[in-house]
Symmetry: C2
Subunit: 407 residues, 2 copies
């Protein structure tokens, strides 16, 4: 991929994604796949005025080794210095940039039970500290191609061509045009207009139906608002947490969802696939799941903690989304979630509560915002999906018809 294009993408991530402020610290998390691009992002952060950029290199292959060879006890331990690092971040409120490139099958063969148990144990220790920085710092997830990921998406191409093709697909989906900053300004404005319309309706309930059997109702909180594209930190810094981002989303009210939904795309969870599955909700809780592939994994996922079986997100994406129209299945939520309407199990978003800055985390949970260590999107959008809203004053309004916006 041409260096000049990659520089634009690096700039987009630093200045539109994380929107690094002068004097701010930045932590970049990256796999080993694209070190040159990681350095470009670091340089763009410095150009934007970052006081210090720290890169945390990760290696999925090493993670596999650790899970195989370490005891559950050492895997579950958070050493003092790691805890101190979280505390430091909660105090300093750095930008966090995640450059993902994981192999979708990267954890195949791993003892998922052992991994899950150790993650639960560690999150229990880390989460209270991480919660202190919630909504206070800018962050951005963007993608770079890894060889294994590229070969999964383009199995018929050679390694180097597959990586090049995945670069192409990532850059197109991420609107890395001649002037990506302007493109994102326009895109954010479009998404905002849609949110404003939806937030003016006073929606109480969404009713999803599709020919595959989906028939599902979910209540929103009185305070639920739809969000899309960029968002603000409590301190007032605008940033774009996801590159790309096509969805218009909100967080529903915990405990008020009924009916069944059928998946329309596979879900890649911890490097393994869950496919052709359904989830039945009662009183907001996933009470029955079936899956042709990965049923046990799905069951483990919703048992991660209490909130893992409740919904944290309802996201609206038209079936004609450019990412779906590309025809590419990315095997990666950052992209695939922007190809179709989806729901998420697990943690809800504080920013989806009107005037969320007024409330504490506890108050938001009280209102019905779900909490969990997980937040896992799964796709339910089909070409025939209908969504009808019931407003608080009793009107029925078409939101989606035949998989498209109905307004």
């Amino acid at each position: 991929m041409k260096k000049s294009i990659l520089k634009k993408y690096a700039h987009l991530i630093a200045c539109v994604g994380a929107r690094v402020q002068k004097g701010q610290e930045v932590f970049i998390s990256a796999e080993l796949d694209q070190p040159e691009f990681v350095r470009m992002v670091a340089e763009e952060c410095y150009r934007a005025g970052a006081s210090k950029v720290t890169v945390d290199w990760h290696d999925q292959a090493l993670d596999r080794l650790h899970i195989r060879h370490r005891s559950l006890k050492t895997l579950s331990t958070v050493p003092s210095y790691e805890l101190e690092r979280w505390k430091y971040q909660a105090e300093v409120l750095p930008c966090k940039i995640y450059l993902i490139s994981d192999d979708p099958d990267g954890l195949a063969g791993v003892n998922i039970k052992k991994m899950t148990l150790s993650q639960q144990a560690k999150m229990k220790i880390i989460k209270p500290i991480r919660d202190q920085m919630e909504d206070k710092y800018q962050w951005c997830i963007a993608a770079v191609p890894g060889v294994a990921w590229a070969k999964k998406v383009f199995p018929h191409l050679s390694k180097s061509r597959a990586v090049e093709a995945l670069w192409e697909a990532i850059l197109t989906a991420s609107r890395v045009t001649d002037d990506p900053v302007a493109a994102w300004d326009r895109h954010n404005a479009d998404l905002k207009a849609r949110c404003d319309y939806l937030n003016g309706l006073g929606i109480k309930e969404l009713h999803y139906t599709a020919k595959n059997g989906t028939d599902f109702r979910v209540r929103l909180m009185d305070e639920s608002i739809f969000e899309a594209g960029g968002e603000y930190t409590l301190g007032g810094n605008f940033f774009n947490p996801n590159i790309p981002s096509e969805e218009v989303f909100t967080s529903p009210k915990r405990g008020e969802a009924e009916g069944i939904v059928y998946s329309s795309r596979p879900l890649s969870y911890n490097g393994k696939l869950i496919d052709n599955f359904s989830i039945r909700f009662e009183d907001g809780r996933a009470v029955e799941v079936h899956a042709e592939t990965g049923e046990d994994l799905l069951k483990e996922m919703i048992a991660m903690d209490e909130g893992a079986s409740y919904l944290g997100e309802c996201a609206l994406v038209p079936y004609t989304s450019p990412i779906r129209e590309s025809g590419i299945l990315f095997y990666n939520t950052l992209f695939d979630e922007n190809a179709a309407c989806h729901l998420a199990l697990g943690r809800g978003f504080g920013t989806c509560i009107r005037d969320f800055t007024k409330y504490t985390q506890d108050e938001m949970r009280e209102m019905g915002l779900n909490d969990s260590v997980i937040h896992e999107d799964f796709m339910i959008g089909t070409p025939d999906l209908s969504i009808t809203a019931t407003t608080r004053d009793g009107k029925e309004i078409a939101i989606f018809r035949d998989g498209e916006w109905a307004f």
Copy 2:
């Protein structure tokens, strides 16, 4: 390079180099050049019973960015979590493995003054903690080829062939034969016999002369002993800190060196070369230096702290050492120091004091063991080098004649 050979090398590093003990933690430090080999070493550590292996990935190119863009103040700061990590290591006493592959020219163009000042400031904070673990843990430095390093050593080869050629050179120098463990057992036994002879002589002073003008006398401490190959931690774990290692070395008495030495090979310091230099000593201190290349750098090096201008090591390597005979200039001290007799400015080795376990760090400094944040080897071995020892009972004994062992 064939995977089966690399596995033997990885095993050598884990089990002969660091000699990982059952239940021990291991920290591996590596550049991004050879991730597959790094994983092999991690796996061999686990096979040896490591309870946890942590890999710290470094990137020299990012270091350059940091030095360019960060203020001296942020560069000089050790964040709380990094300090906590040193304290953790001082408590846990893990094995530390350093897989080096740095580009010898990797810091060209860097503001050396800024880098040096920030290193001094950080070392001041870290050193007291690092000192607590001195001589208590196993560590091993070994090399893997990076592209830039390989191209420096083999400029006429293509990148991939240069890397292959450097692998070959590293593996040969490191005695990675059919059975590297047995080869190292034999090698350690040979080196030990030489040390035993030297340590039986009761050497008081070494006198170096060569036709290039070198005429230099250095006193040893009464307690100085020659060491080579493997050594023991205070807890009794045998390990090989350097792979390869051909030298027989001791630490001299601080403050008692007179005369002038001329370099016989370039010194690569912080990624830059110092070449064709001489150092004149008075009362043990480097009082006058000249260099055709890098004189300023050499002056900065010996000004790092007070101990940086005193000697920490005298090492004996015959001119027919296999590493010199390979004819390859590695531009890397780990190899080049095993090609010729050398001295080191800076920190001396506690293990070069007889029964060092009986003494505290302070007591050893009292005896004349030098201390510094640096330890920089420089080569003085030539084909005509003579070294004559004067023993404590007044005898003169030939140690080296014409660049070779004289016994």
